[in-house]
Subunit: 127 residues, 2 copies
């Protein structure tokens, strides 16, 4: 399985190519919502403990690839200020069939929140 | 929940807008694989029994919306000839949180195969 993980500032995007034989492409975007802990916010600030966060995300993807046979998994996590409505994390999984792709994507999202040293805080309101 | 379902010829695409409050966007693409029933193919031909196929897909989405609270679900199903590598079905579900969006998208794909009168056949090989 091809594993391609990056942590970056600025808007997230992925090129539109596919591995040969992909019959299922599952894409998840985690977007910043306008409410956080019942307060109205304009943005979230994401900080990561690098390079451990990168290594840990790669490890999770590879672990999950043993249980769920997929062709490729790409992950992009944004750090720095992420305005409401923009994407903080982008996960794309390609597989021959959909069950494996959905399984890897959902399991990854469950684990990333628990195991990866990336944390968020509400950005200071602009006056 | 906003429900937007269409059956169409030609490549599938969705505009990049989001409903307010969406924290999770799940997108599934079902692509035509180069093998079908152990034969190498160049394309699949999809036929639909219209307008029943459209109504049935809308009904499935609305049914699932009762169990999984989502903000919007958009479905595009292609009919006619779909070359290998191109998308036959595109499903996008937006919700406040990811669990509901993944649940609706996966349940929809399970049901669409069983309950919607759309069928496929390998396109004749070009010599």
């Amino acid at each position: 399985m091809v594993v391609d993980v990056a942590i970056q500032t600025g808007p997230l995007d992925l090129p539109d190519d596919l591995p040969p034989g992909a019959g299922a492409v599952v894409r998840f975007e985690g977007r910043v919502r306008p409410e956080e802990k019942e307060a109205i916010i304009e943005a979230l600030d994401y900080e990561a403990y690098l390079p451990m966060a990168q290594r840990q995300m790669e490890k999770i993807v590879r672990d999950l690839g043993h249980a769920h046979r997929c062709l490729r998994a790409r992950v992009r996590h944004r750090v720095g200020r992420v305005p409401v409505g923009e994407t903080a994390i982008l996960v794309e999984v390609c597989a021959a069939h959909r069950a494996e792709a959905f399984a890897l994507a959902t399991a990854f999202m469950d684990r990333v929140k628990q195991e990866v040293p990336i944390w968020k805080s509400a950005a200071a309101q602009q006056q």
